[in-house]
Symmetry: C2
Subunit: 246 residues, 2 copies
């Protein structure tokens, strides 16, 4: 097989388009960089469509370093990347222990929250309007493989989904600077909950806050007024799961 | 007073040097950007030496946008910045509830951990070799003012300081992938502890691990193998303080 040297090659062009949400929506694909992450994605049952490699390799399209750099999001690509199908999770069950993000814009925060939710033992995530796209390269990098494992769906508007879940018996814990002490919140009898995290700059929207069974806030014992969104989410998810395990 | 238009001006040159550790060590100063952070630093008792402003302003050196951009670390500076003295904390008490960082390189993680430690109610931080410099602009930005409030010192080697603290009766909780369940660790009778967080890529050094009274690890209930360093630190700091408050 010939080596592709031009970034204008149609396959290369298509894979380059996966950097943007538009390209991902049009193709139904997203990009995974590096051998470790590609293996992890396969292990999680995701379907690989095309692989690029800087070295000749079975089943991979052989490309130059220049082409690899044009396709990848990182400054120093790892020599191999692949396009995977975005799974259709719209009908898959997300489970009883959920985290929901309301306008969390920073891709690092979104990825880190998916990673922590997976580690804590949550069963799924809801991404509302204004969140960084979970299939963007930066989110997937921060999620460290948890983006392949933890089921998540984008919902719009988030408040409607939360209202439906509340009617189904879920506790809706909404993180808010106006909230009551997180550690004193009511416990759901059935173990079903959604923990809602707001945007870094503005917190949760009024619409979303109105769906809460409990508005919650972690205690600030020192002089800090707030926490990083991913850290706050991590503390609360681990605390809820610690209590459940008791 | 005249407006400074040249980035070659000696004062401007000196303030520009504060971007690097070398410049900060030579001058004993560090840079704070934006009105809110400058007010916060003053409120915390830090001593301001020079202020630059894009608008003519009492007590400030009037500069052009170009000069401001040359001095500041951010892409879109907020129109005012100031050099503050780095306080001498070598003899100040750090208190009984400490977090220690062993080679945490990412400035965002170091700053976020200082911010969370302040919020959780810890009393101080130890920064070992290989950590991002706490006075770097990126760390200070992530710390959101907690870098002014929470006492911290750089120590080398960290293991020696930890050994001294252990002899003084502190529990030394060292976060490690080889650790036991964090929630089952022994509780210190006197409430004194140091929580030690290792580097993102390699965890804690053997030297540091050997000082532990307890090697600890948060449970991984899903498929994730590890947590982001700042998130793990946050979960553990809040859990220790929750227990203490009970």
């Amino acid at each position: 097989m010939d080596r592709i040297t031009s970034v204008k090659n149609p396959t290369v062009q298509r894979l380059r388009s996966l950097k943007d949400r538009k390209g991902r929506v049009e193709t139904g694909l997203f990009l995974v960089e590096g051998v470790v992450m590609i293996e992890e994605a396969k292990k999680c049952g995701l379907v690989m469509r095309e692989m690029l490699s800087e070295e000749p390799k079975d089943g991979a399209i052989w490309v130059t370093r220049e082409v690899m750099q044009a396709v990848c999001d990182t400054k120093s690509p790892q020599g191999v990347c692949a396009a995977f199908e975005m799974p259709d999770r719209s009908r898959a069950p997300l489970g009883d222990r959920l985290v929901a993000l309301d306008g969390v814009q920073d891709p690092g925060n979104v990825g880190t929250i998916l990673r922590t939710a997976d580690a804590a033992g949550l069963t799924g995530a809801l991404l509302g309007d204004g969140c960084a796209d979970a299939y963007s390269p930066k989110v997937m990098r921060s999620a460290m493989g948890s983006g392949f494992r933890l089921p998540f769906i984008a919902v719009s508007p988030l408040s409607e989904t939360l209202r439906t879940l509340k009617e189904a018996g879920y506790a809706i814990y909404v993180s808010s600077l106006q909230g009551e002490d997180f550690y004193s919140r009511r416990r759901p009898e059935n173990g079903k909950f959604v923990l809602v995290i707001g945007s870094e700059a503005h917190g949760v929207s009024e619409e979303v806050a109105s769906t809460a069974t409990d508005l919650v806030k972690l205690p600030m014992r020192g002089g800090a007024e707030s926490l990083n969104a991913a850290v706050a989410a991590g503390i609360m998810m681990y605390e809820i799961m610690r209590e459940t395990a008791e």
